[in-house]
Symmetry: C2
Subunit: 216 residues, 2 copies
DNA sequence: CGACTTGGTTACTCGCCCGTAACCTTACGC
DNA sequence: GCGTAAGGTTACGGGCGAGTAACCAAGTCG
């Protein structure tokens, strides 16, 4: 059990940077399907076309690997959004471009989205990381609302603003999730639908209209 | 290592039905904090104040136990909502009562909510179960919208309706999640906020107002 | 008072999977 | 052409935790 006089010099031996990306690709894929705990390092390594110790050598422990996935996918997503929604545009245009970029990202990186949205909640170590990212998003949306609002001379409490922003982000994520499960659906069209709900609903609200609970 | 001449006949020996509920309580608590895989049967048993084999005897394997949790919490939630939103009420009143019941449930059963919302997504075996429940909710909301809409003589495509309903459910879940992490927040008030976003936004939409993407 | 059922326990087995030690081989600098 | 580092491998240790076997004790019903 020692021979192994390698015939097949199958063109391997790639530079570190390339392997790392392959590993991350594989990790995102496996984590998205199995979840953190059920995913095995062996499967990730095999899927990346490499042996396990290499994964440990380059990306560290399983937990570190997962965080690396979160980081890469999260950064990609935030950059896609930020790059589209330039801060000097009018609020509705900004919101629209942000939404379009977001749904575009989800459509193109379904696995990445699944890791971020479906897997990283719940388990303590990562929930924080994720919540922070989400909070930044909510912050940005709240900022947009606030801006649009002040432009019309109105003002709303901070908590109120945060809650509405939270609801909008939640609705958007929910639609993204729907999109992830409907490969035939068009991201652009989905973005338009979300924009309708968000802009019309928020617009009403910011205009001062309110619904009041009936007595009882 | 065999003595165990039990002094302390500490009043134990409870009927099966009681123990089962205690176990489910403990399971929901542990699953909600750790997630399915990271939760250990030993911890659940200990938390329930009983030894592990009893859990296996009454509720079966870990997977079956988790499903039992999902079932109990899911049923409780759906019943709370259905009981509040009687189908013969006007649409806005129905929506309002449903939301109030929902947020009330989440406020009172934060652990149960966490299991349903944060843990059961992702892992294959349970995702289906959960998705079905969610689909029923979406269905109901879509039905409400459709009803309100027809009452005003308008009509909208089925997919359109489903997507809007999906967004509303997502926004509601998101707010519920926010509520779960803010123990000081008032469920009733949160429900009112959600009602504002939902009713005003959806109202606009159903009235035929639309937002259109700018050229480009 | 026995016989049996129901509630309960301790103390294992056994497999999976994270993480690593030890070793090989191709390229590249000098 | 030779040292050394960078890319790569096989094969194992060891722990943790799901699930079980075997056994105990208290009601309960003829």
């Amino acid at each position: 059990m020692l021979a192994r006089v390698s015939s097949t010099p199958t063109f391997k031996r790639l530079p570190r940077a390339v392997r790392e990306q392959q590993m991350l690709d594989a990790a995102v894929k496996v984590f998205s399907r199995r979840g953190f705990h059920a995913a095995s390092m062996d499967e990730i390594a095999e899927d990346a076309g490499i042996s396990k110790p290499m994964v440990y050598a380059y990306l560290g422990t399983k937990e570190e690997l997962f965080v690396a996935c979160l980081h890469r996918e999260g950064t990609r997503m935030m950059e896609a959004i930020a790059g589209a929604a330039a801060p000097d545009l009018p609020a509705d245009e900004r919101l629209w471009r942000g939404l379009r970029a977001f749904f575009g990202f989800v459509g193109a990186h379904r696995d990445g989205w699944a890791v971020l949205y479906r897997q990283a909640r719940g388990s303590q170590p990562f929930a924080g990381e994720l919540a922070a990212m989400r909070a930044r998003l909510v912050e940005v949306v709240a900022g947009m609302l606030d801006h649009a609002l002040r432009a019309e001379g109105r003002e709303v409490g901070e908590t109120e603003l945060e809650v509405v922003a939270y609801a909008l982000v939640g609705a958007t994520e929910s639609l993204a999730d729907w999109l992830a499960d409907h490969p035939e659906a068009d991201p652009e069209k989905t973005a338009t639908r979300m924009m309708n709900v968000a802009w019309l609903g928020a617009g009403q609200l910011l205009r001062g209209a309110t619904w009041r609970p009936p007595a009882g």
